[in-house]
């Protein structure tokens, strides 16, 4: 298919819906315990009436419509309807706090807001008066909505009814709207997660999105009979890329889990053919296996250990692009039928042809782990500003410390300072209401990423770290803290880690233990504890973490090894601004927030006194007064 400048997302949608009609399933949702299919015809009808309803409510060209909610067909309909009505879609993370909701609604000049149910509507109502441009709040799940009678609230069904009325008066209107429009017009306004500052709104055109999908599909084609599971937030560009950019072009079936909590279980039922998730999802899967391994019987553990050994050996041969001898291939087959097949099935990976990870750094250990299982996991590199990705591994040419080659029609250049630049048809139009940032980021069609990297001898791009995050070690060498952090996170006991040591005498780390896994471990050892805080400070747990750190230190140069560490009294949380919504560490923020800790790690102290207040999700506050231990890692 050729993507011309005239092609827009609605035009493609119209074409595909006409082509597939009632004969093909566009999406499936698990509802009330049963997978319910939605054909392209149903999809089309729902979007059509929603589009007309929005027009009837007064949506005009270029108006912003925001959406907040879990992954459900209705969310995708709302987005598609907004674009069909020539509006601009804005997605918010489902777990956004009220301040973030307010900032984005206000900054984007949102006119209508789709909130899934009571929780989202509550958030919207609480910011309604502070966002003068916001006119209507549209909801769709009636649960708990019985006592809401604000006149600016309207249900999705009512909007569709308005659409039906409008169709009777102007039967041609929807087709006319679809035929209008040009590929360079803005389709989506996407707020970036912002590791450093307030979120910035990236303007993405129809052409940006469509070329993105086409180029990714040129590398790893999907088929229309494929299944895709949509369970990551729509507010993440990766999910948009798979559901809209690729989904619309290929026409595969998008499957929505019943609830966020049932995601993993539902994915297993679907058995998707393609998967794109940030590293934390894969980290979680790894942790699940590692923990189950610890709980398994002696026999199972032996089998697992043996199959992993085989898996790693074969994966390493593949990494080195060596031929796999027949006896290893045979052993690999044995490992597959006895162990790997079952593990892959439990993780929902049994049919996956290509699994992608991106959005943050993934450690080499995790990466090798999945390849040893026989999962074709590939790194990608990209950002919201290129509507998804620009660089990806090719099958059979995978190196776990690189992100691969650029996708078609994409150029990658490294500046003298080592900054990665990208140029492609998918590079965004600019930031909304922020010309300064646009000027800094977009120069002569090149996107300045702010990431440091280089191109290796095989032409693979290696992403080092965010430029401003790169450390200078005491011997003057540059070092990526992210690399060490991801290595530490390979331990199932470590949920998050934060490595410190820029221009310092030595490297230190702050560890957030995984409450569930470490808690389990403590239960088995008959160690009593009442809270995360107490558990994290126990000497036994320090010993446990120390062992993990020693493991990660193993093959690092001496100056890059973690010398001291401490366990934090809480987990990092996006609600406390410590992480972005996609769970990237906001380094500058934590450095400021935990200044005392950073200082103490570079003094001769054995502990650091903490006197602070933490805020719970429901607004309650708790005062924490405690001493945190600092441990030196023994060689």
């Amino acid at each position: 298919m050729k993507i011309t400048k005239d092609l827009t997302i609605p035009k493609l949608f119209y074409e595909k819906a006409g082509q597939y009609g009632k004969g093909r399933v566009a999406m499936r949702e698990k509802e009330f315990g049963i997978w319910r299919p939605i054909t392209w015809h149903d999809y089309f009808q729902n979007v059509k009436y929603l589009t007309l309803g929005l027009i009837r409510l007064g949506l005009e060209e270029g108006d912003k419509v925001a959406m907040i909610g879990d992954n459900r067909p209705e969310g995708l309909w709302a987005e598609m309807a907004t674009i069909c009505a020539r509006g601009v879609g804005v997605w918010l993370f489902q777990d956004c706090l009220i301040d973030e909701v307010k900032y984005i609604i206000d900054h984007s000049d949102t006119k209508f807001l789709f909130g899934e149910g009571q929780e989202e509507v509550d958030k919207a109502i609480s910011v309604f008066n502070e966002c003068p441009k916001l006119e209507r709040i549209i909801w769709d799940d009636p649960k708990g909505m019985r006592d809401y009678n604000q006149d600016y609230l309207i249900s999705l069904k009512e909007v569709q009814d308005l659409g039906r009325e409008l169709e009777q008066q102007q039967p041609e209107l929807f087709e006319k709207m679809i035929q209008k429009g040009h590929g360079d017009e803005v389709a989506l306004l996407f707020y970036t997660s912002g590791t450093t500052s307030l979120p910035k709104g990236a303007l993405l055109s129809h052409n940006n999105m469509l070329t993105m999908g086409q180029h990714l599909m040129a590398v790893d084609p999907c088929m229309e009979t494929d299944d895709y599971a949509s369970y990551l937030p729509f507010a993440w560009i990766g999910e948009q890329m798979m559901s809209i950019s690729c989904g619309l072009q290929v026409g595969y079936t998008i499957n929505f889990p019943e609830k966020p909590e049932t995601g993993q279980e539902n994915i297993r039922e679907v058995g998707p053919h393609v998967m794109f998730a940030p590293p934390r999802m894969y980290e979680q899967m790894t942790r699940t296996i590692q923990v189950k391994y610890l709980d398994a019987t002696w026999m199972k553990r032996k089998f697992y250990a043996l199959s992993t050994k085989i898996g790693y050996h074969v994966a390493d041969l593949k990494f080195q692009k060596k031929r796999i001898p027949w006896y290893w291939a045979f052993l690999q087959w044995l490992a597959y039928i006895s162990v790997q097949k079952k593990i892959k099935d439990h993780l929902g990976l049994s049919r996956v042809r290509n699994a992608y990870t991106g959005g943050a750094a993934m450690g080499p250990d995790h990466f090798r782990f999945f390849h040893a299982l026989g999962v074709n996991l590939k790194q990608i590199y990209g950002q919201t500003e290129v509507a998804g990705i620009s660089v990806v591994h090719r099958s059979g040419d995978i190196k776990f410390d690189t992100v691969g080659h650029p996708i078609p029609e994409t150029e990658i250049k490294i500046t003298e300072d080592g900054e990665i630049l990208t140029r492609s048809p998918s590079v965004f139009l600019g930031y909304y209401k922020n010309p300064e940032a646009t000027q800094e980021t977009l120069i002569d069609g090149w996107l300045y990423s702010g990431d440091k990297g280089f191109i290796d001898d095989d032409g693979h791009l290696v992403v080092f770290d965010r430029t401003k995050d790169v450390f200078t070690l005491r011997d003057g060498r540059p070092f990526s803290p992210q690399y060490l952090e991801t290595r530490l996170k390979f331990s199932p006991y470590v949920r998050d880690s934060w490595v410190i040591g820029d221009k310092r005498e030595y490297v230190t780390a702050v560890i957030c233990i995984d409450y569930a896994v470490v808690g389990n471990w403590a239960d088995e050892k008959k160690i009593n504890y009442t809270s995360y805080q107490e558990l994290s400070q126990m000497p036994d747990i320090y010993n446990l973490v120390e062992a993990q750190i020693r493991q990660a230190n193993k093959d690092l140069p001496e100056t890059a090894r973690v010398v001291k560490f401490m366990n934090l009294y809480k987990e990092f949380d996006a609600d406390d601004d410590e992480l972005t919504r996609t769970r990237k560490l906001r380094r500058a923020f934590v450095e400021k927030r935990y200044q005392d800790i950073v200082e103490a790690l570079y003094l001769d102290n054995d502990n650091v006194h903490i006197d602070t207040t933490i805020k719970y999700e429901d607004g309650r506050e708790a005062h924490i007064k405690t001493d945190l231990h600092i441990r030196k890692v023994e060689e």
Binding site: F32, G33, K143, G144, R146, E258, E261, T262, E265
Partner: protein
């Protein structure tokens, strides 16, 4: 009680009339009268050992009082057994969860549907026509009305015994709802739950009481005064088998004897917040 507050006869769903209950020489209830109006949440509070659970057991038929009458929809039900009362539409949860630990969540809830099963042993063994249709209907009811309401989709197929206490309580509520009751007795539904679980449970109770689909009359036995005062239409205060007051939450909170006997003179609000 003011004149306007007096319940009209036809509004009353369940009534206890001068109920006495003795265990040997111990008097658990000494002439208690209670009128529960249709559609309301009527709370029963009182210190430990006041006789709250005894009262619930009498309504539900586990105990028969030595003296006094129980009316349900103006009919005397003293002689009815618990299962017969269940058929009339009286359902309950227990202070200490009484679920079948080895069975899945779904099976536990299905048990509550049992009294609505019409097909007999013959049609059941053939499993055609009526039985199959009936099963689909029950399945829809459980999935659409109960599992969705209580948000327990993720544990549907898990054995109840392996679940945390808070979820077990939810499952028990689910089973009680599967009966499609008109009167639901909730015996300390919040005991042992953490703050978040309390909030969820309070929301479910409100949904059951207010949602058009349900409109279930609830008798709520609870110690968490914050929740009781927020949720209830009326509060009945019991102390050592005697009623102190039966009134609106405001009346109860300002009643001097209640303050003395239960709420504590200094600490008027014994709540978790």
């Amino acid at each position: 009680m003011t004149e306007s507050n007096k319940p009209k006869e036809q509004d009353i769903l369940m009534e206890l009339e001068d109920v006495h209950m003795f265990f040997g020489k111990v008097c658990a209830l000494a002439g208690v009268s209670l009128k529960v109006r249709k559609g309301e949440i009527h709370s029963v509070i009182g210190p430990n050992g006041a006789g709250k659970t005894v009262m619930m057991n009498i309504i539900n038929g586990l105990y028969s009082p030595q003296k006094g009458n129980i009316f349900y929809k103006q009919k005397k039900i003293n002689a009815l057994k618990p299962f017969e009362r269940a058929q009339l539409g009286i359902s309950r949860t227990f202070q200490k969860v009484e679920v079948f630990g080895g069975m899945t969540v779904l099976d536990n809830i299905r048990l509550g549907r049992h009294i609505h099963m019409k097909s007999g042993i013959t049609t059941g063994s053939i499993y055609l026509g009526k039985t199959a249709r009936e099963e689909v209907e029950h399945r829809n009811f459980i999935e659409e009305q109960i599992i969705d309401l209580l948000e327990i989709q993720h544990i549907r197929h898990k054995p109840v015994g392996m679940l945390p206490y808070g979820l077990q309580k939810r499952v028990e509520l689910g089973r009680a709802l599967a009966l499609e009751p008109e009167l639901l007795i909730l015996d300390e539904p919040l005991a042992g739950l953490n703050l978040e679980e309390v909030e969820d449970m309070a929301r479910f109770v409100l949904d059951i009481s207010e949602e058009e689909r349900w409109r279930v009359t609830c008798i709520l036995v609870e110690h968490d005064m914050g929740v009781v005062m927020d949720l209830s239409d009326r509060v009945f205060v019991l102390n050592f088998g005697n009623m102190i007051i039966d009134g609106t939450p405001d009346e109860v909170q300002n009643h001097p004897e209640v303050i003395k006997a239960y709420l504590g003179e200094e600490d008027l609000y014994a709540t978790r917040a």
